[in-house]
């Protein structure tokens, strides 16, 4: 009633991530189970390859499943927070009427719906891709038959859906614990950092302000009032950097089959997270943008004001992603490929290719939103409430 299915459909990003995670995990877990079932017929000379294939499957599963679930979790929390901030007044009136926080929070189970769709499709795709994967991951002399395990689709679909629905409710319950008055007034929860002292300083500053400084001032305010978004832009850059470089490194690691999959997942993921983050930046500023346009600022000036501040954070995210993917590959290799003494070094070429691709990508996203700003209808924005 409070949250509609439509709202959860907007969570397409999470669906995509769940799709990727479940897709990869479905066929690899199935593979591991089927391979384990024929372990008895593995001979001495097959053993090395057999263990290697099994390690690859486990490695990919842990990597994509673990990483992606974490990303999906962060995105979900982010989205719910944005939702509650954006619907503060509507949720506030429910609280005013006497709905308990818990009652309202329970309606947020709907956010698990996007997870359900993503997981279901991912599971289906996983089964569809299974014969192909089995034919790639053969062990000479050993037949690993594809078997259906009824618990697998249940675990792959029901588990994430339930966990994420519960998480949604739990986080919503936490985020709703604010006083009604401020929610009705449409105040976004202020962090303690934006204290009274700062506010009065800002007021003092604004009195002596030159007119030219308005844009800069607004840019800074946008950044500091939306710390969550700053984090997310950085996070999207992080995903791009980590996943794309990881995909590239897979070729070096002779896990070639996994290379394109991780690369594709990385790209899809980076684009999704970046789009969600940018859309959030854009949406939470539409009113400001409309007013700026009404005052006669050009779309270019608006775009620069709103988006420029995020650039340094995007590149910080990229840097952290680079370090992260290197570290996690190291750890995973030590964990799953101990016996193989794989050589794995930091790949400078891949780093620069990824960096270039990222710069182009970021510029393209900015351009897209620049065009969107051009299209903002001042009247439509102002008419809303």
């Amino acid at each position: 009633m409070v949250v509609s299915i439509k709202d959860s459909v907007k969570l397409a990003g999470i669906s995509v991530i769940c799709f990727c995670a479940v897709f990869v995990c479905t066929f690899f877990i199935n593979y591991c189970v089927d391979a384990a079932a024929v372990a008895d017929s593995v001979t001495q000379e097959m053993s090395a390859l057999y263990q290697g294939q099994l390690a690859t499957a486990k490695f990919s599963c842990a990597l994509s499943g673990g990483c992606l679930s974490l990303i999906a979790f962060v995105m979900l929390v982010f989205y719910i927070k944005l939702y509650i901030d954006g619907h503060g007044r509507q949720l506030g009136i429910l609280k005013a009427m006497g709905y308990k926080n818990g009652e309202i929070a329970l309606k947020f189970w709907v956010f698990g719906f996007g997870v359900l769709i993503g997981s279901a499709l991912g599971c289906g795709a996983g089964y569809a891709a299974m014969p192909m994967i089995y034919s790639q991951m053969t062990v000479e002399g050993l037949t690993i038959p594809v078997k259906f395990h009824f618990w697998l689709p249940i675990a792959m679909i029901a588990l994430p859906t339930l966990v994420f629905s519960a998480l949604s409710c739990g986080y919503a319950r936490f985020a709703l614990g604010r006083d009604v008055g401020s929610m009705l007034k449409g105040e976004i929860k202020k962090s303690k950092a934006l204290s009274d002292k700062k506010l009065s300083e800002q007021n003092k500053a604004s009195k002596t302000e030159k007119p030219r400084a308005f844009l800069l001032d607004m840019g800074i305010k946008t950044l500091s009032s939306k710390k969550m978004l700053v984090f997310f832009i950085a996070f999207a850059s992080f995903c791009f950097s980590a996943m794309v470089q990881m995909g590239g490194s897979m070729y070096d690691l002779n896990a070639a089959a996994m290379g394109p999959i991780i690369l594709a997942i990385g790209l899809v993921l980076a684009v999704t997270v970046m789009m969600i983050a940018m859309t959030a930046v854009f949406n939470s500023n539409t009113k400001n943008l409309a007013i700026m346009k009404a005052f006669g600022y050009s779309a270019r000036e608006c775009a620069v004001t709103i988006f420029t501040g995020y650039i340094p954070f995007a590149f910080i995210g990229f840097g952290v992603g680079t370090a992260y993917q290197y570290a996690i590959l190291r750890v995973m290799i030590d964990l799953f490929f101990k016996e193989y003494s794989l050589i794995f070094d930091f790949d400078v070429a891949i780093f620069f290719i990824t960096l270039a691709a990222f710069t182009v990508f970021y510029a393209a996203v900015m351009l897209f939103y620049f065009l969107k700003i051009k299209q903002i209808s001042i009247k439509a924005v102002m008419a809303e409430n």
Partner: protein
Amino acid sequence: MIKAQNVYKSFNGGRIKVLNGVSLEIARGDFAVILGASGSGKSTLMSVLSGLERADSGTVCFDGMEISGFNDKQLTEFRRKYTGFIFQQYYLLSHLSVENNVRLGADLAGNKDFREIIKAVGLEEKCKRKPSELSGGEQQRVCIARALAKKPQALFLDEPTGALDEQTGRDVLDYIVKLKREQGFTMIMVTHNENIAQMADTVIRINSGRIEEVIKNTSPKTAYEIGW
């Protein structure tokens, strides 16, 4: 029914003092108007009287319950049982139909006859529409229905006609007063409009967070008799 004694309320850690020792009493079944200039603290007073916010000091009693001492959970329970709200901004849930918006209120009281109240505000033909497909006056009527569907003992209104033109505003007020006569709830309305105050039984004038005067009105006017 509502009794406030020496209520103080400030914001931003005491720097913005809004209510400075307000004491008042509102009888059951009364139509009370809190009248004052913009920024005089009317909305804040209403929030404190209705259990939306807690006072810094002083007591607020509702039907003998000291709600100023309630915690958040108790206040929620209190609002759920006893109060209804109508605000200048409608706060309707945009993705729900008129009918379902009203049900949000009705469900809290286990009220199955919510269609009656939609009828009473003249919206039965439009009950499947979304709020965005209604005029301002119609949206405010949905709010009336939503608030009354929950069968409140006290209805709190904050500038309910503030966003409406004269004719629509009169109609909305007329609906409210008619329903009050039928159902007998207590009504506390905030307004800066002197003329609207002529409709009330009791006018509480507030200025800079203090009660200036309380006037009993022996012959309240109807929505169509007042000036605007």
